[in-house]
Symmetry: C2
Subunit: 147 residues, 2 copies
């Protein structure tokens, strides 16, 4: 298992989407918290709980190799000392195909552990429409911080 330490939820999120684009299972699993209650929901899928179930689902997604292009936008981020919540739009396309990317709305929850920030929960679902720019937040937006 690759060991990486993420100093912010943003770093952890960037690594998550990089692993998704590269179809890199080890890199993907390195972003998740070492917790038996991690949760992953793929669009239209059931709730998967625990490292084993989450890993197996990503293995299946990745088995065709790296073929996705992923762009993230309209980021809404709220951060506290130990936990952070990001809600983003994912624009996912198939490499080499010209058809428009499928819009997906994803909620990502990160927790701070002794090894930096890790992904606790990823909940994604297809979205019937995404008005780019009409929504608040952007990829470079600073997180709102709770005091």
């Amino acid at each position: 298992m690759t060991q990486r330490i993420f100093l912010s939820p943003q770093d952890c999120e960037a690594a998550f989407y990089e692993a998704l684009e590269k179809a890199d299972l080890d890199a993907m699993m390195a972003v998740w918290a070492d917790d038996e209650e991690i949760v992953c929901v793929h669009p239209g899928g059931p709730r998967l709980v625990g490292l084993e179930a989450v890993r197996e689902a990503w293995r299946r997604v990745f088995q065709g190799g790296a073929r996705l292009s992923v762009r993230i936008g309209n980021v809404l981020a709220m951060q506290s000392m130990m936990m952070a919540t990001h809600c983003v739009h994912e624009f996912i396309g198939i490499k080499g195909e010209a058809r428009p990317a499928a819009p997906v709305v994803a909620t990502n929850v990160y927790v701070r552990s002794g090894n930096g920030w890790k992904l606790l929960l990823h909940h994604s679902s297809t979205s019937p429409k995404v008005e780019q720019g009409a929504d608040k937040g952007s990829a470079g937006a600073r997180p709102k911080v709770l005091h």
Copy 2:
């Protein structure tokens, strides 16, 4: 607007689902954080951001009156000082109809404000299958606490 103070994320969650069953728009909006970046995703729907968009969507859901029965199960809860994440299965039925409840997976994120705990984000999506009891967590489970 009804003013209520919730002393825990659990209290806030109970009020959320009670308002849903009662189709009580004021009670529903009283559980949400007073923040322009609150997020609500209904099953199959787009991401709604802000009090006005969230309220309008609930108004439409409720316009037929109280007709839903809602049961919550398989609760996974992670709590820190200022933020809490719950992931639950919602078993939603139409009152008076015998057909099985539709399973929905919902992620609820709560934040602690000066007025107690409030709902920041509700992301729900239909789930193809829910194995009751096979999944971890239960409605009475104590939240895992981050230290």
